[in-house]
Every structure is written in structure tokens, then in C-alpha cells.
Subunit: 167 residues, 2 copies
Amino acid sequence: MENPILKRRSVRKFKETPVSREMIDKLLEAAMAAPSACNKRPVDFYVITDEEKLQEISMAGRFTRMKAPLIILVVGNLKRALPLQLADYWIHDAAAASENILIEATALGLGSCWCGIHPQKRMMQKVSQILGLGEKQLPFSLIKIGHPDEFPEPHSGYDKSRVTFLE
Amino acid sequence: MENPILKRRSVRKFKETPVSREMIDKLLEAAMAAPSACNKRPVDFYVITDEEKLQEISMAGRFTRMKAPLIILVVGNLKRALPLQLADYWIHDAAAASENILIEATALGLGSCWCGIHPQKRMMQKVSQILGLGEKQLPFSLIKIGHPDEFPEPHSGYDKSRVTFLE
């Protein structure tokens, strides 16, 4: 199989076919296999397939409106975060979990698009309100997922100017 | 092949054998295939195999001291970041690139360990000083990589209590 890390592209057009529960479980398993600073695991997942909630949440931002049969919302849970200045490691953990979801989706033949929510306060508030999140739960990313209805070609992002060798 | 997302564990003991340039290139290619908010790509990579630099940088923190033949330092480059409150998306991008390096390392049979640097100011300053980074370059993660000399068993992090279904 082609390396899903290299194959992954943002997909914004999806078929209406639902994503099977088996695939959803694989996406969640991949998400929770991501590393977490000091193994605190301060990240929750909201799996949304309810038509009304999908629509409501998709209206939270300007770039979140494309139609998809599945959203996984990755949420920081500050109740489990590290203390003090280390608390912000939840952001690293949430991003690693998000990336794992995208790669696993690609490996399963699904399309996905990572829409950033955090640190945009208005979008975070809207999403929190729609889902009734607690005070310590911070919406991080909204990942649209489905069977793809567009197939962007993989393209290498390799850029030598970003690399320095100390050898 | 076993799914490298699920197989990945932190490895802290490495053989002395160097990591080949071909493998290093694959790690960098994977890193740069990570998504980036608005495709800004505000992330640089320092590839360190020089013995003296490896030792110096490994002393930057308490948990960064294990010996490895390769460090990839992932660095935020604020010159290419989004403006204003969106600037912090560099953190998401750097974390996604870091996670890709870990998964690709696993797929290549290498071991790796993501050591957090950002947002710990003292460690960031030390690393910046050692590498002579510019003001707009922020050390994010220090990834130790090598041929593994310990083989932690994969373990599922799946935890139902972290998942909410809205279906």
C-alpha cells in the first residue's frame, strides 16, 4: 500500500454513504494511540453522525461548511492536563491525535479535512454551546470525514530550504 | 505490515548504528507531508548527527538525556506563521509534523521518542542558543531517533470514557 502519510490530502467533497462503525472505531483507536506528554491523555473525542448536529456544527465557522457524513471533534480536557506552564501540552497531544485520525482515514480509503477551531475564541464558544461542553473542555479541531468524492493527487511538500543539517 | 500508528511506542534505548541518509530523507518527507493551516508551513527541521551537538542538546532538559545517533529538532518559524491570533496554528502544524516523523520512524523499523521543548522557556532558550536560532525560530520538539535497543510492546490506548457519540 502507498504510504498514507504521503498520500494524505485535504478532501472537502464526500459521498453521502455513511462511514461504518467499524471504520469509526479504527479512527478512534488510531487517535488514542498518539503519544501524550507524561501520558496524561487530556483529549476527548466527539463522534458526530446526527444530521442536525452535523449541520449545526458545520455552521460554526466560515471554512467548516462542507457536507460530510461524519465529524470527529477533538477536544482538550483540562481536567487531565499537566499543571501550570506544562498545561499547554494538551495542544500538542490534541494535534498528534488529529494527525493520526487523518492518516488512518487515508489508510482506510476515506477522505478527511482538519478544520482548526482552537485558538479561535468565537468558534470555540459556538461549538462548546452546541455540544454542551464543560468549562474545562476546549474544542480543538473539527475533522470532516467521509468516502471521498474528489481525489486530489498526493504532492510532495519536501522543501530543502526548511532543513538544516548539523553532521 | 502492522499499522505503524498502533505499533508506535516511545523508545529510549538505541543502538550506536547511524541512521542512513536515505532513512533521514524519508523521515523529513513524512514530516513535510503533514497538513499546515492555510498551507503556511511555518516549521523548520534541524537534523543533528554531529556527536558534539548531540551531546550538548541532550543536556538541555532533564528528560532529553538518553543517547541516540540522530535528533530531529522541529522548530516553529514565525516568519511564515499566520497573522495575529491565528499565529498559534504553528503549534498545531509542528505537532502534526512531529507525529508524522514518529509514525514514519516506526514504519522504517526505527525507534523514536518525542521530547517536548515548547512551551518551556528555559529549554527553548538553551536549545536556541546551542543552535544559534533566529529570534523568530521557536524550538518545538526534540525527537530522538535510532535503531531500537528496546522493544516496548504496542498497547491499545483505547478508552471508551473519552468518547461521546452523537448519532
